[in-house]
Symmetry: none
Subunit: 203 residues, 4 copies
Amino acid sequence: MQCLKSDIRKGILTEAEKLFLNKGFQGTSMREIAQKSNVGLSNIYNYFHSKDDIYQEILMPVIRDLYHLFYTHHSGEQVTMDVFTSVEYRKRDVEDYMKLVEQHRVGLKLLLFYSQGSSLDSFREQLTDKMTVIIDNYFRAMKHKYPHLNVDISPFFLHLQISWTFTMLGELVTHRIEKEDLKRFITEYVSFGTAGWKELMDA
Amino acid sequence: MQCLKSDIRKGILTEAEKLFLNKGFQGTSMREIAQKSNVGLSNIYNYFHSKDDIYQEILMPVIRDLYHLFYTHHSGEQVTMDVFTSVEYRKRDVEDYMKLVEQHRVGLKLLLFYSQGSSLDSFREQLTDKMTVIIDNYFRAMKHKYPHLNVDISPFFLHLQISWTFTMLGELVTHRIEKEDLKRFITEYVSFGTAGWKELMDA
Amino acid sequence: MQCLKSDIRKGILTEAEKLFLNKGFQGTSMREIAQKSNVGLSNIYNYFHSKDDIYQEILMPVIRDLYHLFYTHHSGEQVTMDVFTSVEYRKRDVEDYMKLVEQHRVGLKLLLFYSQGSSLDSFREQLTDKMTVIIDNYFRAMKHKYPHLNVDISPFFLHLQISWTFTMLGELVTHRIEKEDLKRFITEYVSFGTAGWKELMDA
Amino acid sequence: MQCLKSDIRKGILTEAEKLFLNKGFQGTSMREIAQKSNVGLSNIYNYFHSKDDIYQEILMPVIRDLYHLFYTHHSGEQVTMDVFTSVEYRKRDVEDYMKLVEQHRVGLKLLLFYSQGSSLDSFREQLTDKMTVIIDNYFRAMKHKYPHLNVDISPFFLHLQISWTFTMLGELVTHRIEKEDLKRFITEYVSFGTAGWKELMDA
DNA sequence: TATGAATGAGTCTTCATTCAT
DNA sequence: CATGAATGAAGACTCATTCAT
């Protein structure tokens, strides 16, 4: 019985994903991956360079979408306060997060909680730092456009806000929220956030 | 050549702490701990039962203080809205966090980011769950006392808020904040939070 | 440099057998087995799951034949006193034992004397118990068929007789008996046994 | 709290005995002995030279009595056939065994089943060999005294008979026989044995 | 006598990866 | 592309015994 090359690849990735999710990156061995995916241990190396390679390939899509989401949200052409204080804007934001979570539940879980020991170990940290820079620039642009506003937010608070986004993603991913509760949560989240930002910026 | 028992114990703990901080619990081997602390590998077992034992001993103080902080903050005798919306209250809160961070910077870092594979692996998750229950009860009591208020916060949002607290601790611990920036950050943090809660509860 | 799988397997088994015979199961280390059989220590685990696995594989044939011998001797269709008191019957018995010993000298030695710490540790005890039950049933059947006979043997004496069989196997295995002495021994053994059983059963 | 030196010795021996009985000589560690007997690990070496030393000391009494029993039984001044064929003689024999078993149940168990890895590992084998020589001499003397008798027993059968004695001791020790069953067993045992020996010697 | 620290070789087993076929 | 053998270091932990105090 022969299989298509691509099938085997997928098989490996699928089983590896399950294992990583259960035991973490470090806790999963190549042997297990081989056994579960019915592939000879050494044969795996015909498809992937290393364990880390498998891990990266699994997480590539999430990372791509995550980057895309973050960058489009915060580096759009329009510099406006609405991004922070408009309920509409924030609702769109959080709905985008939800979509991401629905599409990449497992991947996000891996990325946020099970990457210890892999090259993506500090992915969250790095992305947070990058985002901080980007948003910081955004603030500078806003300060230029609306000089009377207080957009002088401390870098640390900014950083924290971004990190919180990851935390929220983590919570959404681990505690599967029911549809009926979802709307309410979003309302609360948006209310809380907009009120907070308004307070900070109008001051 | 023998040394004082307490000295060697401390030596082991010190070096182990450093290693755990660099390589995580799983990534650190007893061999390394032995080498760095100039103790025979097997001799370590005269001081500690296991690797996990060392880890727990290192984190015991943080855990104790963390529990104490959380429980005293949220199970005080007085049921009042101030806890959420009073600037004074929240300032006191965040200052307590700061103290915790200053005293247990490394320990918190380990606890929050480097415990994978140890028995404290899911400590954050567990404590978050416990706190959620406690605060939920607090809300029920408030609802009883102030019936006109909207204290009907969704469990998920509550959970998220608590998780955010850990995130903040994590950020404070990883990004050493300068003294001059500290005051500003606290102000921002408190403003944001109180505004948010007010918005939610007055609605 | 790779060799035929079967050769290496055999090599490991051969050397392990020697070592177990010299040092017992517990006293033999995987390192030694690896060294003596010119195989990398870790490579052994490509052929066997564990030390115990090796041990079991070595003893599988003896155990099989031992079971077969015992069961066929004592669960034959014919219920007759001859089994105990006929010289012919007993001669056939003891000759079967001899064959077993010749074919599995080393294996029997291991099984009877060197299994401490392995999963076959209590093999003799277990088999003795099983056999006791079987022969006890046999006696009941005989009692039914020959009511005038005294077949009311105490369970303990029965147990002892079976245990003696193992002892004899043990002796045959450790003290290689010369061909010329063999016939004589068998005669003595059979005479002694038949006389004994006759005495007990005719009483 | 200070203890008499002899008390500590006894404590160590007592606890060691229990452990050896549960886990065998090899399976018992000095650490365990120290813990169970409430003695500092290294302090044990003020009382005993080594683990083997403890083991020997525990088994000294059994060995002494065993030797004494065997030697008096078979090297008495009187050379007579009765030793083998007289019911009275054999009854006295087996009753002596019973006494030995009652006095040294644990010791015999250790000696026969749990000595692997210790210096007493091959005690049974050695004693069996010694006894074989002694009884062989006894037979020679009998041949001289009663030339018409067939006392030309093969060494191997002799050896087996002696080994059987140990087996019986082993059985008596592991399967605690009830008082009511004891008498019956002895009768069976003696009947069987005397009939067997008569058959062999009168032939 | 008693203690706790020290030792150094030892236990079985698993790891990710490579190699030859 | 696939296989199974090979590697060599590493994993946590235990051992009986000794030493200095």
